[in-house]
Amino acid sequence: MSGPAFRSTPLLDADAVEAGIAGVAEGIRRRHPDGPLAVVGIHTRGVALADRLAQRLADRSPPPDRGALDISLYRDDLDNLGTIPTIRSSDIPFPVDGATIVLCDDVLFTGRTIRAAVDQLIDYGRPACIELAVLVDRGNRELPIAATYTGHTLDTARTDHIAVRFRETDGEDAVVLLRPEEAGS
């Protein structure tokens, strides 16, 4: 797709990203000082976030279990895909029944991805509870979904593109706003 050109505006730098993750980790720690806990990331950047959180919570007892979800099979827009989606393996190596799960994603937007991820988790078993951790909540929800832990809240327009970049996946920590160039259309 050769979409319109984008103007990129930095919103959060590396320190702010790190601070956001630290805040989320702190929130989880306060709410769950001990006992079994699992952090499950949604491919791709949700997995990076889950990994960072797991590192920060590694001194907890016990350390959190980790998992990854590919929600492709739970998407509601298969009809619109012209290419075959590459499905990554979903990896939930702990028993889901009775587990406390923190679902992790980089951005919370319409809520549809989270809906799909929750549906998928429930198909693995019956967790005791599912919470949601996001680095950025950018509003514009289409479903009644809210994050339990939020790193940053940003006020955005529906048409904005918010890109989260992580060292592990993109070589730097940053959040940028991509706005279509206002070409005289």
Binding site: D70, S72, L73, T83, T86, S89, V96, D123
Partner: protein
């Protein structure tokens, strides 16, 4: 693996292996893996095809393939309908397009078709918006069998390039031989054929080498021996003199089985097996027999196929037209 490759466009139908590019074969096999992982979950179903309808159009009885497709479709949350084809009430073949017209009105999204005549799935595909999956058409093709064979083999031999498969038996009348050899060839395998001269035609593809004895064929050091099912009626049309002679010359006898086991060769068979004809009983319990895995992997592979195809939906067809 295929991570760096550009995303492949979704095709409408799966009619044969021949028209697939090697990358498409790999993509379909890679996509089958996460589906197989689902089978270990408590809920084995995903909502990927929720609201879609899959129609099973089987002009030829086949419990195995049909059940496999049904389970695959249901695990994708599609609605499955069986279209009862009574071959006795209509003149054979004549009803195909009439039936398709009816199906078109039912607005099904996927049609899984098996027919005794080659090319019937192609015919249906040309006349319907639904995605057509060939579940076996005469001697022509059986692409999902080929994919599940390749999938099964990749589980034990991750890189198939340069590996050798010896296909034994009735090559002439076998859609499995046609599709599976093409598929394995596309994945870089070397293909050998061994069987009676009446059943191994000279018109086979160039890539398949022939052998004149089982000993020669095993001396070629195949990694896999794929035994084809012998239709017992071949005996009546002078293709072979007797089942006894077939087993002696072309079957896996106890002596040949020892050779196979000693060489660590994997054994495959599309089923159902004629014991004592293609192979002796011991082969069934051989630790390198893949015969049972083939059945299980059939579901994951067929899920991958259904998931990857793209029917022309009513909505999309309208979008392209001058819809409201």
């Amino acid at each position: 693996m295929s991570a760096a490759a550009a995303p492949l466009p979704r095709r409408k139908d799966l009619l044969d292996i021949e028209s697939l590019a090697p990358e498409e074969v790999v993509q379909l096999l890679d996509t089958a893996r996460p589906f197989k992982e689902l089978f270990t979950r408590s809920v084995k179903k995903v909502p990927a095809l929720r609201g879609k309808s899959v129609l099973m159009l089987f002009y030829e009885p086949s419990t195995r393939t049909k059940t496999s497709f049904e389970i695959a479709a249901k695990r994708l949350s599609a609605d499955v309908t069986n279209f009862a084809v009574s071959t006795s009430s209509v003149v054979k073949g004549e009803s195909v397009l009439d039936t398709v017209e009816t199906l078109q009105a039912m607005k099904v999204d996927y049609i899984v078709v098996r027919h005794s005549s080659p090319g019937v799935p192609n015919l249906i595909a040309r006349h319907t918006r639904a995605s057509v999956v060939n579940a076996g058409d005469g001697h022509h093709a059986h692409p999902t069998q080929a994919l599940l064979d390749a999938y099964t083999l990749r589980e034990v031999l991750p890189d198939l390039a340069g590996r050798r498969v010896l296909i034994v038996g009735d090559i002439l009348h076998s859609r499995v031989a046609r599709s599976t050899s093409r598929c394995m060839h596309k994945l870089g395998m070397e293909i050998g054929y061994f069987g009676p001269g009446t059943l191994v035609p000279d018109t086979r593809p160039d890539f398949a080498r022939g052998f004149t004895s089982f000993a020669d064929a095993l001396a070629w050091k195949p990694d896999v021996v794929y035994l084809l099912r012998l239709q017992l009626e071949r005996m009546h049309a002078s293709f072979i003199p007797s089942l006894r002679e077939y087993h002696t010359v072309f079957g896996v006898t106890p002596a040949r089985f020892r050779q196979i086991r000693d060489a660590g060769i994997w054994v495959m068979h599309p089923g159902p097996v004629n014991r004592g004809v293609e192979l002796v009983d011991e082969v069934m319990t051989y630790e390198r027999s893949l015969i049972n895995q083939q059945v299980e992997n059939g579901i994951a592979t067929r899920m991958s196929v259904l998931y990857s195809l793209q029917p022309v939906t009513e909505a999309r067809a309208d979008d392209e037209g001058a819809g409201p």
